[in-house]
């Protein structure tokens, strides 16, 4: 009898599944409630994770840096000299741009957020951020780190939000190669690499070329770094080229991100 009871119990998750499939708003509301209630615990857990990351990744770097201390000091001096030189060049550049009536973009307004939870499926790349609509985050905001584009905001709850990362199989970004100016779509495949699809057959794309956001569509501003082209081949239908792109961001080590609120022009 008890055994049969567990067979009958199988109907419960099926009912849950049908109910939440039928009513997506209920699904969202339960997610929102859960993430809001459990946020403090996940923030605490992510602090522990950051500590573990620090031990794992930075202990090796520290030992390496101690060994190369003299080399680094010499390099710092050299770079400081270059920095002064570049600062002068930057000032000159600004003066010349003013003369040419160029409009320099203002520094974009961003909101910093911490990754407090990650999807446990190996191929899904959706993370939970510790900021939400109460912190002015909105759906479809671009998410970046200093190395480049990370993804976009997928769902916003009051105190948390889900961000979909570029390697997720459901992620799509309109992109552009920097030298050949070939346009395509960056698609995630659930691994450490990205695909650049729908490149024209006559596009003169080269291996090692940088890929940036094209600014087509309203989600991502133009010029955000995505990665470098690793290989190019014809796609399966033979109508386009398909490039494999190595992302500039290491997606397994993301702890903090910036969400772009606006990219106002002067």
């Amino acid at each position: 009898m008890r055994r049969w009871r567990s067979y009958y119990f199988l109907a419960v998750p099926v009912i849950f599944l049908i109910a939440f499939f039928q009513y997506p708003r209920l699904n969202e509301a339960v997610h929102s409630l859960f993430s809001t209630l459990t946020r403090p615990a996940f923030v605490l857990g992510s602090s522990l994770r950051d500590g573990l990351y620090a031990v794992r990744y930075q202990s090796g770097n520290f030992l390496d840096a101690v060994g190369k201390q003299k080399e680094y000091l010499a390099r710092i001096q050299e770079l400081e000299g270059q920095l002064i030189h570049f600062h002068e060049m930057d000032l000159e550049n600004q003066r010349l741009k003013k003369l040419l009536n160029f409009s320099l973009p203002l520094a974009t307004h961003t909101i910093g957020a911490r990754v407090i939870e990650e999807d446990m499926t190996p191929w899904k790349k959706v993370v939970l951020l510790d900021k939400g609509s109460r912190h002015s985050l909105k759906k479809d905001m671009a998410v970046v780190v200093p190395e480049g584009l990370v993804g976009r905001i997928l769902e916003v709850e009051p105190y948390t939000s889900y961000a979909i990362l570029l390697p997720d199989p459901d992620s799509r970004v309109s992109a552009l190669t920097t030298t050949s100016r070939a346009q395509g779509i960056i698609a995630g495949i659930g691994t450490d690499m990205l695909q650049m699809k729908y490149l024209a057959l006559d596009a003169e794309v080269a291996i090692g070329e940088d890929v940036i956001t094209s600014g087509v569509g309203s989600i991502f501003q133009k010029g955000l770094q995505i990665g470098k082209i690793e290989s190019i081949e014809r796609d399966s239908d033979g109508l386009h080229l398909l490039a494999l792109v190595k992302p500039s961001v290491s997606f397994s080590k993301i702890e903090e991100v910036l969400c772009i609120v606006s990219s106002q022009q002067k």
């Binding site: 998750p13 997610h31 959706v126």
Partner: protein, 171 residues
Amino acid sequence: MHRLVSAKVIFYFFLLAVLDGAVMPAFRIGSVYPSFLYLFICYVAFEWGAPKTVYVAFWAGILRDLLGGGLIGLEATLLAALALALDFLVQKMERQLSGIYFFTTFLFVFCAGALRLLAGYAGDLPPSLVWEYLGAIAITALYTSALLPLFNFLTDRWFGHSSAKQYELFR
């Protein structure tokens, strides 16, 4: 035998969910990291017995659905169905065989991952990617099942069980 609706079990569930969602990524190998919620289902099947596995699998599935941000009930259904198969396997298996717990856990985690892949992307993926994902699932299963002895030890301690087993000589 432990009561499922107790503060100790509920807190343990929640702790495992936080560990899975927020802490375990620090132990990532490549793109995979282990899941304690899967291990808890296997632990319940091995130690607490048949009727409780399905209930634990259901709640573990609900927690994984909530953590993943997707459709609630999907993983709960898959895990509850798999838990029935796991119960059946545990009842039939020869417990004295070396490595049987490891193998059963591996099989359970692998099947759970493969079914999740099938439910999420049935027919949408090219075969090369399917093989790649199955490889990642197999590594996840291997990694997760390798932690079974440690998890059993900690869970035994948490619930105050003795690790020494008694076997009946007569029925």
